[in-house]
Each structure stands twice: as structure tokens, then as C-alpha cells.
Symmetry: C2
Subunit: 130 residues, 2 copies
């Protein structure tokens, strides 16, 4: 019984936290939330330009997920051509510190990680050669 309880942590497929992690546990969502936290309000095309290498389809899916979760607000201005802008909701803003702490960790350990990758690659090559 105790064993079973210890197993119920966030990685388990049936754990409710997975329903959240399945959504914002991807780099595009993380990047969009971070971008909007820096820029305030942005149009669809501006978000795409800032991120650079995201496809239009993936950006549409990401924004729709974030909107559906209540993390961003989508506002349509009835102009010609119609203008659509996105901004963080208070809920989205409450996620920013967590994301910043994750990216700060990344910045802090970037050099170590890149060095580790190089060493790993060399070790793999050596394994193949000999």
C-alpha cells in the first residue's frame, strides 16, 4: 500500500499533473510565454518573427493551446485587414517566474552542458572507431 502511494508521482501516466505538463511542457509554449512576458502584446506575425524557426502551423497550435488553457488572451480588432493580438493573462503571468528560473538555470549551466555534449560525442565516436 505504501509502495503504491510512493509510486503516485507526476511522471505516472494517470497523474493529473500530466494533463498540464502535456501542454506547457514543450519548448514552444515556454518560449511564447517568455516572449509575451518581455514584450507585453504581440501580433501573430510578430511572435513568429521573434521566435524565428517556428512553423506557422506549430505557432497556431501553440497559441491555441495556451489560449485554451487560459494562459494567453487573444484579441481581435475589427480592422481591415483584421488585427489579432496576444498577451498573457494573470494566470499566464503567474507562470513566468517558474519559466525564468528554468531558463536562468539553462543560462548558468550552458557552457557545462555544451562541453558535456562535445565530450559525449567524442566518446561515442571513439566507441565506433575502435
Amino acid at each position: 500500500m505504501a509502495e503504491k502511494k510512493a509510486d503516485q508521482f507526476s511522471a505516472a501516466v494517470n497523474c493529473p499533473i500530466r494533463q498540464v505538463l502535456d501542454r506547457f511542457g514543450d519548448k514552444w509554449s515556454i518560449l511564447v510565454v517568455e516572449l509575451l512576458s518581455h514584450k507585453g502584446r504581440l501580433r501573430f506575425s510578430e511572435i513568429g518573427q521573434h521566435i524565428g524557426d517556428i512553423s506557422q502551423k506549430m505557432l497556431t497550435v501553440t497559441l491555441r493551446s495556451l489560449e485554451s488553457d487560459g494562459l494567453i488572451l487573444r484579441e481581435i480588432f475589427p480592422e481591415i485587414p483584421p488585427r489579432v493580438e496576444y498577451e498573457l493573462t494573470p494566470l499566464g503571468m503567474s507562470l513566468v517566474p517558474q519559466i525564468e528560473s528554468l531558463t536562468n538555470w539553462g543560462k548558468e549551466h550552458l557552457e557545462t552542458i555544451l562541453h558535456n555534449r562535445k565530450t559525449y560525442e567524442l566518446r561515442q565516436k571513439k566507441k565506433i572507431t575502435y
Copy 2:
């Protein structure tokens, strides 16, 4: 110039932080790090069993990436059949607080998010009907 500088944040494709986020900014890496932080050492099959819905191929890729980045250590025991175990390195352990803060945020706001999703879905259906 100031405009250009303000644009250099983590979402930009050429920003070095992306090299890190491209790797651990996915739910599988997050789940494996969290799992190992709870369980200590685990075998390949045990990790798969705990996560539940990860394919063998995706688990292999995830573990290899985490090993290459120096976040986990892979140890092979020369037994028959050979036993392979994984555990967090000190670098991997240093990522745990960030991940826990992210999953804690998820736990805290889970109900709101699920409610938002339901409302969003209903609104979308309404749009189609009328």
C-alpha cells in the same frame, strides 16, 4: 541599437539558451529528471514502467540526450543479462528545484486550467453551431 538589444532574449532562434531549451524543454526529459529525483537509481525498463506511455524509442532518445548533456549517469553492470542503471548527476540534481517549481505551479493551477479548457471547447463548439 537599443531596439535590437531588447530583442535578444531567450526566444530568438540564435540565442544560445535555445540550445539548452531544445533539449530539456520537453515533457519526457522533465518527467525522467523528476522520476530519478524521487527514485534515485532505476533501470531502463523501470523508467519506462513508471512513465507508462513513453515508447521504447522515445525513452532511448530522451535518456541519451540527458546523458549527453551530463544530467544523468548511465552505469552498465557486466552481468548476464547486463544490467543498466540510470541516476541523476549533481548537474541533473541542480535542475530538480526548477522542475519541481514548474510542476508545483501545474498542480496549483490544474483545476483552473482544466476548467478553462472546458469553457474554451464549449465556446468553440458554439461558434461552429451558430
